[in-house]
């Protein structure tokens, strides 16, 4: 009888806490939604978000809806997540990537709140810690910028949880989790390769000593084989659809190359590209500024071998990954990886002692310092897009005037002149997004485009071509095939649009 009562009280208490956690989650999600609307309304947009959306609407709007039309040059999972939004009316303006980003962030927060049940803290303290996590610029940037960093953060969170499990219980589930997370990671973000490689030397800190002594090779096989299969599968699909196993790492437009072919655009690569130790040391400094809380965690766990190893890996792993990714001229900005520390920190907090007042206050202080340091570092090192983002948060209008927005103008014009049109989507992705869909467009993977490119004089209604003197214009396949089209036009076609570096030629009917 007594135990039944206790059980009921416990259930009610948990249920109450559970509801409170739900409300907190809803509040944080709404806050992020509000902030996203705010930055978007101030003219912010992320190039990669627009590019992703453009790929999706191009693929779904083409004659044949084919997987390969999503191209093999960018990880597919974020694109798959965007597909359902294509069919939702009202999202054709390109808001879907931002929505997915927020949903992913909410999912991360939900998983974190679920895992935090193991740490016995009050709902007030949970709310404070959650708020301090969310207010960190790295987290906010991931959640509201519309990129797929929020998805990357989920995988990193799971990766770090797996590492913690391997350290503490080393059951088979934790190894499977880690291996599968890496597979998913690869299909979300090209940095997965560097994150994976960076973990290789750290596995000796994660895995049980006995297993390392007996057969280190088996550990690497268990953790790495699925990842190797994932890379192999991707290479194989490249061979099937593009004719080359290495297409995704040789094509200039590939996201898997990071900043390799555009070093001049990225100060980080200009300063440290091709080196390992220097960016590693600089990133260490960045970590200490943006996440001094990791030092607190390291000191806090010094007496606990298992947790200390986990915290140490959390601190070291992203730094090594930054070093390797920079040495390969991949990483364009350290925040691409440093942001993941927020996810690792969340995972670490599911193990942290913060029941006593002293422990909690110390943690809060360090987290607050991290927020301050994080914002300072973010602003100091921001690239142009990051700068526009935080300015948009401050209420500054960062949008380019519509009349000066070449791609937007082209897109709107194409929307009002709908007819079969040849256009190279990787150059004109913003115009496609502005048009709203890709119906009637002959994109580079379509039969119509390929057929037209084989002919001396294409037989299509319209041809869009960009200024070949620009960087993007040089990569435009229409320019590559017809180098004089932009300047001199083509026999049988007349110029019908000429604005801000874009020209459209239309077929002359007899």
């Amino acid at each position: 009888m007594n135990s039944a009562n206790t059980s009921r009280v416990h259930t009610q208490s948990w249920s109450f806490a559970h509801h409170q956690g739900t409300w907190l989650l809803i509040f944080l999600t709404m806050m992020l939604v509000g902030l996203t609307i705010w930055v978007l309304s101030n003219g912010f947009f992320l190039e990669s978000a627009m590019q992703s959306w453009s790929i999706v609407i191009s693929a779904l709007g083409s004659e044949d809806v084919l997987l390969e039309n999503l191209t093999m040059l960018t990880p597919h999972l974020p694109l798959y997540l965007l597909i359902p939004f294509y069919f939702i009316p009202g999202l054709d303006t390109g808001a879907a990537p931002y929505l997915v980003s927020i949903l992913a962030t909410s999912l991360l927060l939900w998983m974190w709140a679920r895992d935090l049940k193991d740490v016995d803290i009050t709902q007030t303290r949970l709310a404070i810690v959650a708020l301090l996590i969310v207010l960190h610029p790295a987290f906010l940037w991931a959640a509201t910028s519309g990129g797929h960093i929020s998805l990357t953060m989920i995988t990193f969170y799971l990766l770090y949880r797996s590492a913690q499990h391997i350290i503490t219980v080393h059951d088979i589930h934790s190894y499977i989790s880690m291996a599968v997370v890496f597979v998913v990671f690869f299909f979300i973000d090209g940095t997965a390769v560097y994150i994976f490689v960076a973990l290789i030397p750290l596995i000796v800190l994660i895995a049980p000593i006995r297993a390392i002594m007996i057969s280190p090779m088996s550990l690497y096989l268990i953790i790495g084989t699925p990842f190797a299969f994932a890379v192999g599968t991707w290479a194989y699909m490249n061979w099937i659809f593009e004719g080359s196993f290495s297409f995704f790492i040789t094509n200039a437009d590939s996201d898997f190359l990071g900043g390799m072919l555009s070093i001049a655009q990225y100060p980080w690569l200009q300063d440290y590209g091709g080196e390992f130790f220097q960016p590693f040391l600089v990133a260490t400094g960045y970590l200490l500024i943006a996440y001094p809380v990791s030092i607190y965690l390291l000191l806090d766990t010094i007496d606990d071998n298992h947790r200390f190893r986990a915290t140490f890996v959390l601190m070291l792993h992203p730094l090594i990954a930054i070093g390797i990714a920079t040495s390969q001229h991949y990483l364009t900005h350290p925040f691409e990886i440093l942001t993941l520390v927020s996810a690792g920190l969340m995972a670490e907090l599911t193990y942290v002692k913060m029941q006593t007042r002293r422990e909690f206050i110390l943690l809060v202080i360090f987290m607050m310092v991290s927020i301050v340091g994080g914002w300072w570092l973010f602003i100091e090192t921001a690239n142009p897009q990051m700068t526009r983002w935080y300015k948009a948060i401050q209420g500054e209008n960062t949008s380019v005037a519509i009349v000066e927005d070449a791609d937007y103008q082209l897109g709107k014009w194409l929307n009002t002149h709908r007819m079969p049109t040849i256009i190279y989507e990787r150059t004109a992705y913003r115009a496609i997004v502005a048009r709203g869909d890709a119906e009637g467009l002959l994109l580079s993977y379509s039969h119509g485009f390929k057929s037209a490119m084989r002919q001396r004089i294409p037989d299509v209604e319209q041809i869009v071509v960009s200024d070949p003197d620009t960087l993007a214009g040089k990569r435009d396949r229409v320019n590559i095939r017809h180098p004089h089209l932009y300047s001199h036009g083509m026999s049988g076609y007349k110029l019908v649009y000429d604005k801000l570096g874009w020209r459209v030629y239309r077929k002359i009917h007899a």
Binding site: V65, I172, Y175, I214, S215, M217, S218, L221, F229, M237
Partner: protein, 692 residues
């Protein structure tokens, strides 16, 4: 109270009268009869049936018994003082009777025990082979009862039926009374006399029951009919329709076919991933803990029957006998049946030569068709006396505490748990490529898949050995299907349909992995043929089957049992398509693979196959067979062998469905440590002869 010099022993009649088992009038009548016709008063009272034999001897036990069994053994010089002391200690620990312990130790023969018992009870000791029972007093319908309880009606003397028994206890006497249905008295014999005699007169009966019992009682579960007319009609209609569709819409038909196959393989892969995840839960490694085993009171353990079917396995007999002796279970509670085929003189001679202890009983199975292991086991079931039963193969090395773990698992499990499957693995894992593959496959199967099937309530195809049954349920199920060459798989599915649960436990039996490809093909083709038989049997009435199993159980069966068969059969077809396309670069197949189909096949080819290879790695990792892990990369070649075996099995299913393709054991050069329950060796430790 035993009789002692100087004391006047109370008269039998008076004792029965004082216990009100007979009336004064009956006693007077019996005394009159004794005066007029002679004879013993007890026999007269029994012959009138006024009192049941069990009650008679319960009241008069002290009257008849002479001395203690131990004292008698000592007195006759059959055991030493030291042995006596040891026996007393063991008896405290095991809680079994003195005679059983002596027999299990092999210090005294069964015949000698019979003599001592006879003296103890003041009854004649009869050698049934020399003084055979009168066949007129034997009821052939009760042969199973005789053999399961070790008694046989002997002769009728002075109007009283004499029943030869191996042991005397009230429960047995009550059972004998119920069985013979008339007044009786007992005499003593040895258990081997009873077994041999019953086999000599009951071969036909036991064989008939072993072969036809299931087919007669539950024909819907018997594989004696490979495919039913209804199934044939369905197949005919399906094939006819397919032909029509192919004739009119060939391209579409093939696209749908390839789509169906690809989808099936994808779901099959998905199921295996789920099973690996669920089965990887650490809780399955602690179904029974070492602490629970240590805390077990051996006095409470039930009698355990161990079935050991062997055929031409003389070489492995000493090893398995040693393994069973080493089992951590009171030997006196073991009821071990060496089930040997009548024509297998070699193994029978070897068994005799070994002079095994009294807990081992040799059963010779008459030579009749189908000559299968399940038939042999069914035959042996008639002689089993255990509350629980298990099966081992000749080359098995169970972990010593396996029987105890099974008892605990039964006690902890639900009431409807009917069988518990132990894990199987191999002691010669590193012998060659094939044994490595086989070991990883078995580790995956038993360490991941089966626990997950248990957790998800999907029918578990039992493994060939180390499945621990509740004997009463096994008999209720009419044993194994002798026509099914994977009778274990079939039985697992039947049990679930009858509302029983099949569980798993964390104890391993180490076996000898097949190290020869031809031998492996023989074994695997039989297994896959048996799976096909089981699939056909249980899919005779799919709707009823669905109702009994529910959604998860039914689809789990389709993809786990069916998936094993079909993936093996389909793999070469898909591989052939791929190889032709890869080698020739032909675009001829392109129309057959529209985008969706292409994506699914690509997924299966790369991700699914990649992960299936990974599952093999995981199995080695979980078992800590680290050196096997890199070999998992080569598993696609193993799948090819599997497909070869599947087609061979399919061919046999059509042409020779009940043929039991015998797997030769004893081919390994590796040895196994039976004392500890053979952990795998990394190198050969002993050379064993016995290749057949």
């Amino acid at each position: 109270m035993s009789t002692q010099a100087g004391l006047v022993r109370p008269r039998i009649g008076e004792m029965l009268l004082s216990d009100r088992l007979i009336t004064q009038q009956q006693l007077d009548q019996a005394l009159d009869q004794q005066r007029n016709q002679g004879g013993r008063i007890g026999d007269i009272i029994l012959s009138h049936g006024w009192v049941k034999t069990a009650e008679f001897y319960t009241v008069l036990s002290d009257h008849f018994r002479r001395g203690l069994i131990g004292d008698l053994l000592l007195e006759k010089g059959l055991i030493s003082q030291d042995q006596m002391a040891e026996l007393l200690e063991i008896q405290q620990q095991w809680g079994t009777r003195f005679g059983d312990i002596v027999l299990s130790k092999g210090w005294v023969s069964s015949y000698q025990i019979g003599q001592v018992l006879a003296e103890h009870f003041g009854k004649p000791n009869v050698n049934l082979l020399e003084e055979a029972p009168d066949r007129d007093v034997i009821d052939r319908d009760n042969l199973s009862t005789y053999s399961e309880n070790l008694f046989v009606p002997w002769r009728r003397e002075n109007g009283l039926l004499l029943v030869a028994v191996v042991d005397v206890n009230p429960a047995l006497l009550a059972l004998v009374g119920d069985t013979v249905g008339e007044p009786f008295d007992f005499i003593i014999t040895s258990k081997f006399d009873v077994i041999w005699f019953l086999q000599s007169i009951g071969d036909m009966f036991y064989s008939e029951r072993a072969v036809h019992e299931l087919a007669n009682v539950q024909p819907e579960y018997s594989a004696s009919e490979v495919i039913t007319p209804k199934q044939l009609r369905f197949l005919f209609v399906l094939m006819s329709l397919s032909m029509v569709v192919i004739a009119f819409w060939p391209l579409e038909a093939f696209i749908v076919l390839i789509f169906g196959i690809s989808l099936f393989l994808m779901v099959n892969f998905g199921l295996r991933m789920v099973l690996t995840w669920v089965g990887g839960d650490p809780e399955f490694d602690n179904v029974v803990t070492d602490e629970e085993v240590a805390a077990l009171d051996e006095r409470t353990l039930p009698v355990y029957s161990i079935l050991l079917p062997m055929y031409h396995e003389a070489a492995t007999l000493p090893a398995i006998a040693q393994a069973l002796r080493s089992i951590d279970y009171p030997l006196s509670k073991l009821d071990i049946k060496l089930i040997l085929e009548q024509d297998d003189d070699e193994t029978i001679d070897k068994a005799k030569e070994l002079s095994l202890e009294g807990i081992f009983e040799i059963l010779r199975v008459p030579d009749c068709l189908p000559k299968t292991k399940p038939k042999a086991c069914n035959y042996a079931l008639h002689f089993c006396r255990g509350e629980l039963a298990t099966i081992y193969d000749g080359e098995d090395a169970p972990e010593p505490d396996q029987l105890k773990k099974a008892v605990i698992a039964f006690r902890k499990g639900a009431d409807n748990i009917a069988v518990i499957q132990a894990r199987l693995n191999y002691f010669n894992a590193t012998e060659n490529w094939l044994t490595r593959m086989f070991t990883m496959e078995y580790s995956l199967w038993f360490d991941f898949y089966l626990p997950a099937l248990d957790a998800l309530n999907i029918p578990i195809p039992l493994g060939g050995t180390s499945n621990h049954f509740k004997m009463d349920v096994l008999r209720e199920m009419d044993g194994w299907d002798p026509y099914n060459v994977t009778e274990d798989c079939d039985l697992g599915v039947r049990l679930v349909q009858k509302g029983y649960h099949v569980g798993v436990m964390n104890s391993t039996t180490f076996e000898e992995a097949n190290n020869s490809i031809p031998n492996w093909i023989r074994q695997r083709s039989r297994w896959l043929k048996g799976y096909m038989q089981s699939y056909l049997v249980h899919m005779r009435t799919p709707i009823s089957f669905y109702r009994k199993l529910g959604h998860v159980g039914f689809w789990g069966f389709q993809f786990f049992i069916g998936g094993t068969i079909f993936s093996a059969l389909l793999m070469p077809i898909m591989a052939l398509f791929y190889a032709v396309w890869l080698l020739t670069g032909t675009s001829y197949f392109d129309p057959l693979f529209p985008p969706l189909v292409l994506y699914i096949t690509l997924f299966n080819l790369s991700i699914a196959n990649g992960f299936l290879i990974y599952l093999f790695m995981l199995s080695g990792f979980k078992r800590k067979y680290f050196n096997l892990i890199p070999w998992a990369i080569t598993v696609p070649f193993y799948w090819m062998l599997q497909s070869w075996a599947a087609y061979k099995g399919l061919w046999q299913l059509i042409h020779n469905p009940f043929y039991w393709e015998k797997t030769h054991h004893g081919l390994t050069t590796f040895g196994v440590d039976h004392e500890t329950g053979g952990a795998p060796h990394s190198a050969p430790v002993a050379s064993k002869s016995g290749a057949h």
